[in-house]
Symmetry: C2
Subunit: 458 residues, 2 copies
Amino acid sequence: MQIQDALAELSTLLGQRLTRSKSDLELHGRSETYFPLTPPDAVAYPETTAEVAELVRICARHRVPVVGWGTGTSLEGQAQAVQGGIVVDFARMNKLIEVRQGDMDVTVQPGLTREELNEELRATGLFFPVDPGANASLGGMAMTRASGTTAVRYGTMRDNVMGLEVVLADGRIIRTGSRARKSSAGYDLTGLMVGSEGTLGLVTELTLKLHGQPEAITAAICAFDTVDDAVHAVIDTIQMGLAMARIELLDTETVKAFNAYAGAEMPECPHLMVEFHGSKTGVAEMAETFSDIITDHDGHGFNWATKPEDRHALWTMRHNGAYAIYAARPGWKSLVTDVCVPISRLADAVNETAADLAASGLFGPILGHVGDGNFHSVIMFDAEDKAQFTRVKEASNRMVERALAMGGTVTGEHGIGMGKLNYMTSEHGDGWQVMGAIKQALDPLNIMNPGKMVPPRN
Amino acid sequence: MQIQDALAELSTLLGQRLTRSKSDLELHGRSETYFPLTPPDAVAYPETTAEVAELVRICARHRVPVVGWGTGTSLEGQAQAVQGGIVVDFARMNKLIEVRQGDMDVTVQPGLTREELNEELRATGLFFPVDPGANASLGGMAMTRASGTTAVRYGTMRDNVMGLEVVLADGRIIRTGSRARKSSAGYDLTGLMVGSEGTLGLVTELTLKLHGQPEAITAAICAFDTVDDAVHAVIDTIQMGLAMARIELLDTETVKAFNAYAGAEMPECPHLMVEFHGSKTGVAEMAETFSDIITDHDGHGFNWATKPEDRHALWTMRHNGAYAIYAARPGWKSLVTDVCVPISRLADAVNETAADLAASGLFGPILGHVGDGNFHSVIMFDAEDKAQFTRVKEASNRMVERALAMGGTVTGEHGIGMGKLNYMTSEHGDGWQVMGAIKQALDPLNIMNPGKMVPPRN
Ligand SMILES: Cc1cc2nc3c(=O)[nH]c(=O)nc-3n(C[C@H](O)[C@H](O)[C@H](O)COP(=O)(O)OP(=O)(O)OC[C@H]3O[C@@H](n4cnc5c(N)ncnc54)[C@H](O)[C@@H]3O)c2cc1C
Ligand SMILES: Cc1cc2nc3c(=O)[nH]c(=O)nc-3n(C[C@H](O)[C@H](O)[C@H](O)COP(=O)(O)OP(=O)(O)OC[C@H]3O[C@@H](n4cnc5c(N)ncnc54)[C@H](O)[C@@H]3O)c2cc1C
């Protein structure tokens, strides 16, 4: 790596938009969770695809790592330049390029955030559904294969990215996918890029599916005596094929955290938050069926939010879930787990996790997108307490092993980054070597977010 | 290629299940359409994954091509061993391994056909929706990224394959995906394999999503004065977000072919065939909205099929579409086109295609899964008439170029095989080279279905 030569050339290319200020390096060296600070050598703010391509060519020539950065909210240290090099912050590439109402799709630059996109779409009657808790960038969301509360109905980034413009590791620019709704024209490069965490190229443009604003929306929250009751209600709902738009679990600790953080006044017991989208009669019908299921599982305190502002309050609270939990242990750090299991195993997975955390003496409220079988425990720890952190890591390991034994995955939506690299062999076996072979083929110099995703090179 | 040595070793491995009979070689050298016969050197009928792995290792050692075979119904010559070698027919690996009703998924061997699967699922209340016209194998369907009449609601094979067992080009066995409904754990190898036409490995097991049999189903057929009216009705339907389960276009020539082939008595004008799935009230509501749309576009002769046997007759007729058209020109051959465009361009694409075929003096009835923007012209020609075939190829070229200019794809569902290789650069630019690099990384000896999908090697 000839970093000085690269920096000189990059300065010529980008001028003030290449920064080396301490504050900027630190801002782009941090993670949302427990990973240590790893400031890059410089932060670049490109404005065009051509600039990104030239930047990558310069870095390739000098063997300098290139790491994309959206809003830096990923939870496994994905955006950290662990081998130094250039962090490419897409903040200045944040335009909505074109909405095509008739085709219900949109083309955007990667730095646009999901909330900004929906703001711009408001007048069109269309919306983009994928909603991680953070107001993440669409490029970052594609790269972690993000999802959120609505994936149970609208899918994840895998399902909603139609095409990409990608700058490859040698500076070539390709376009993957098309604006057709389906295609059998060759290997699915869009699908290969989505979830690749910037290890195969930098995304400079995305074409996304949009969805029509439903005619009617109803949301509700309801309480249960036990997590087990709540989870079995979820299982019944899914197995009956009820087209939930959202179905979220909060355990008692999470509810307590909400009450403290958001001034909510929920009874201190497990809850489900749900939402239905459809026609007026369709939504009413679903709500009725759902009420019956709830009753079967001793649900109570059923509370409907039909007014937009009530619904908004409900989901804002949910999206602040992690922050509410952080606030319950001021000054502590968090490890956010993220397993996903077949729905028939969900109750076991949640119960065993809760029991394990309790037995380990850890504070790890559980919440999740349970309609997909996906849930998190936000395990808090005192960074000074090394022994406690070891217990946290061990509990997190057991959670992952349990998920794998149940036919699930080590990460439903947060991705691999640094935190989950150790599980890749357990989940994929020789498949992980195949990922390494693909990486080697597309990035032979190993400059795209090195140290992530694939087996280390010798 | 040391074919004799390979054949000797394969005979030892498979005994009678390696055949070289002329009839078997010819049966596995043909295609459904216009490609010349290319008999392989032998046909293998493995019964286990271990046998498939050993077979591939033998072929790798002797540099002998290996080409998978499901039911041989693919339309672009995908399953033909154009460079000789071994065709691996999965007919004996056709078991349903396990249905998990609670998780709404199923694991099958690749040789099981879609109709056999649905037959076995009948008692479960679940079904597998993807339905190419042919009773294709699930392995072959995964490999061409097949879809059919229900993709508009349930997605294509891309959306319905959760995981695969794959024998790689060096005989290693990997499992891709998991039974979790979503995952962010690394590159999407399942997605990479789906649509790869056997060029990256042989599929020996598939885990598929199942769907609940809807409470209510209603189908209908209705007539229009012009294709333009029919297509605009489709566009309105999609843009209104009406959750159609099926919406199929037949032009006048196709209707005439149906009348002749199936003894139908449809008025000789363009038709739409539609189906709604949902609750009783949901289906009624959709049907009403749809009726309004039809009326707006001068639709008439609206005919509802609510009884299962009427619906069955309707869709059997549709699935026999290609055969009805073949029967209209006995002894002729067919070239089946397969473009897919953004829905806003669908009317233009269909109209321009019809005008072009008429101007070229060709018989090419149009039909298609128009809810996805996907349609086919089955262009018939007399194999003796070279000049006519040239006109067919030219019309097909123009259809493809038109689709690309509209932001669409050269193949919505049939795949690349031999027939569409020439368009890969136009559709993907340097992306095609990326596909070549992936192929090279996973199959360095180029033994998996060589001559297909990727740029030729030097
Ligand atoms: C409070 C909170 C709640 C969350 N809830 C959820 C949730 O419900 N669901 C969920 O899925 N996630 C959730 N997350 C995690 C996070 O929001 C997602 O991982 C999100 O997708 C990250 O987007 P980002 O823009 O912040 O990406 P970053 O963190 O900046 O980057 C993510 C990865 O993508 C790469 N990258 C970024 N942009 C590009 C580009 N243009 N080209 C190439 N590579 C690029 C980076 O190098 C990195 O590897 C949550 C996070 C927080 C803090
Ligand atoms: C009348 C008719 C109507 C049709 N309608 C449609 C339609 O509506 N939609 C649609 O998508 N298609 C349609 N098709 C095309 C065809 O049915 C599909 O392409 C189907 O997916 C092919 O499946 P198959 O089992 O016949 O595969 P094959 O033709 O046997 O093989 C297809 C490809 O997969 C490979 N392959 C097969 N099995 C394996 C395996 N186990 N491992 C690795 N590679 C393997 C082969 O080498 C080949 O490359 C139609 C065909 C006909 C004849």
